[in-house]
Symmetry: C2
Subunit: 493 residues, 2 copies
Amino acid sequence: MAWLRSLARSSTQLRRPLPPILSISSSFSSPADPLHSPPPAFGGLAPTEPGREKPRVVVLGTGWAGCRLMKGIDTGLYDVVCISPRNHMVFTPLLASTCVGTLEFRSVAEPVGRIQPAVSRAPGSYFFLARCNSIDPEAHTVHCETVTDGNAGSDLNPWKFKVSYDKLVIASGAEASTFGIHGVREHAIFLREVYHAQEIRRKLLLNLMLSDVPGISEEEKRRLLHCVVIGGGPTGVEFSGELSDFIIKDVHDRYSHVKDYINVTLIEANEILSSFDVRLRQYATNQLTKSGVRLVRGVVKDVQPQTIILNDGTEVPYGLLVWSTGVGPSPFVNSLPFPKAPGGRIGIDEWLRVPSVQDVFAVGDCSGFLEDTGKSVLPALAQVAERQGKYLAELLNKIGKAGGGHANSATNVELGDEFVYKHLGSMATVGRYKALVDLRQNKEGKGISLAGFLSWFIWRSAYLTRVVSWRNRFYVAINWLTTLVFGRDISRI
Amino acid sequence: MAWLRSLARSSTQLRRPLPPILSISSSFSSPADPLHSPPPAFGGLAPTEPGREKPRVVVLGTGWAGCRLMKGIDTGLYDVVCISPRNHMVFTPLLASTCVGTLEFRSVAEPVGRIQPAVSRAPGSYFFLARCNSIDPEAHTVHCETVTDGNAGSDLNPWKFKVSYDKLVIASGAEASTFGIHGVREHAIFLREVYHAQEIRRKLLLNLMLSDVPGISEEEKRRLLHCVVIGGGPTGVEFSGELSDFIIKDVHDRYSHVKDYINVTLIEANEILSSFDVRLRQYATNQLTKSGVRLVRGVVKDVQPQTIILNDGTEVPYGLLVWSTGVGPSPFVNSLPFPKAPGGRIGIDEWLRVPSVQDVFAVGDCSGFLEDTGKSVLPALAQVAERQGKYLAELLNKIGKAGGGHANSATNVELGDEFVYKHLGSMATVGRYKALVDLRQNKEGKGISLAGFLSWFIWRSAYLTRVVSWRNRFYVAINWLTTLVFGRDISRI
């Protein structure tokens, strides 16, 4: 009964062994003898030993940039340690579709262990469910704390540990902007993580059901079913489009008693889809309006539990409030002692290095070119982050091959071409099998821009091929098929 | 801007109308003018008027019995009002498979609106997300309260309402038994609802990840990864089998660093699978032991946050604790003023009527034959509940056709054959593509009983054909296929 002794808190408390129903089969390998060592006060991964161990790349974050980097890194050259509060990457362009059940949540989430299998298997590579609190660039060490919160939290308290790095890649992303408006964090739902989409779906279905129960007033019913979206960028527009599709196709059929009470309002301070040209913007505006989405120009002043107050004093009651007004630097990025690029991002040079220190790189929404590079800060887009991750993986592989993988050893390595971003174009759906596709490098450039069903088809095909794994590609296609055939699932689970 | 005025809390607070980006298209039908009526203090559905309105069947619960009844009811004869705290039926025999990702949660949840579309569409039929608190059989009325809790809860407080019925079907099910053992509700997870399976999955993945973070002791790692299942009935055995499949196939591959620390223990006070014959029990015991599940005979005395205490004083540390020791009557059933059957269930006669009152029926786990019927109380099985639901739907249709649908009007209707239960057999998987199938009516009866791969194939095929909708049948098949090809999904979302 070694297994039970090793499980027991203290072996002295075990008065007598358990009588097993059967003796344990010898085919089951018993675990290694426990060490019974006390937990180290401050455990971690020590610096690697050049010559004996592979250099260690530590990646902070599991977004587009960090995951693309991990996918491209040569695990024959490096051990990879990924530190992130979530164990999966979110395929963000399709997240809005999951809020109403067009796609399932798991179809847009890709586990890190599938993107880079070394983190789940290789002896020196790991995934740590934790947040990085601070970086000590002199000691080449990151200080972290485990994440134990969320649904079905742990019975353990979070604990701290440190990890030494040879190369550090900061890919921790940005945070939703609230512009300091009171009540946003308390009452609005962002649309950046899978749990946000889950919360939106549960709340929408709850409001649909509650509004059909006897005893609710007409006014309250109308409020409960008023879905307000703040921010007319691609996320806000795509979510509004999905919501109106859901209302037209599913609410009319499955919540027929309350279908005349549900409304969608999109509030934007300026133009919707400002990165697209005027013809596409006009098309999007017409399509959304035809689908019943109310477009309102306004600036939010205050968010109260059931009402938004606009700058001009108008009160807008809501039952569901989704906030998607862009992103800004996170408190972690603000706390870092590195020079910043315009907008408060971590300043990087042409090779995505943090120039003031050795062996530190930053990619994705948390980073921006320093002013002295003469380059402008790139937009916070998935394609920028992905391209940077790919570039940096190749750069690190090159450095590793040249023998510069270990800490402070890459000073003489020729870095080669600097990172150059080439915009491939923008896409956004507006609901009802319609989308915008703009394949020009910028608003003034030449090239193809189109809107309509063909664009929608291009949108779906393009994203289907971009989904990371074959498993999820398969599920996205199956989800789209079943939504078409059977409609969206409305179980509130 | 009528829509906005109607949305505003008080029209006097609207200082000036919002400037829309575009005028609202006329193709969007504006909602009916709000009534601005204050919420009734105690709203509800009034009694139906014979001659002018269809009689109303009120169904409490959305389990096997209630949903099978709603599926079979003739909506040309009756309006259906379903009252339940969840808007879907759970395909319980496949729930254990969702905890480790063999199946997805939505594949085993069937929305009530798909089972009986009238509740989402027909003018006098409804689904109310609520709990029934009490029944007034004299007034033919149920007293209810809305359910607004759970993730992404409502900003509304729950409110009360009442619903008059012509026929009432109590199908509210039973509750997990804790035998009054301290700490079970606080620290163990049951396995009866989709949210239980979600909690188990999140906790299992969290523990797998936390146990790989530096700073955790060997002892704590072993505790975190000790999965303990209490109760050796079909649910406990199937869950243990799924868990060991997950460990052998997925944990070894995807959590390779901690694979030697994870263990499953199944604790049962008597025999496992006591409803099966000795040969099948022996087979199950061998299979589970081969897969590494430890079978322990023991009785739980106390459940503490990280440790279970058994009757003999043994302490068993755990990281995940699943409780599946059978069911007993719920507080709602206990509170009802009707004569009870043995075991505290609502007493029913041969036609599933609650004999002391008019127009009240009870089906499924909440009901049992009264002693004076000479019949024994049927086991709490899905197939009993389903058969009762089907029988009662036919009985109510017969009564309705004979003109006895309205309250107190069925006194002279000939009821026909009484309900007779014929057991079709039992099945249980034990993991590793093995299952037990017992097609005999009872342990002593004659017939086929078999165990092994063929049984597993029968198990899967049988359940696949039993899944309620084509949509979910399709998804269950697809989930099984992708689990085989790609393995289980390990994103913790």
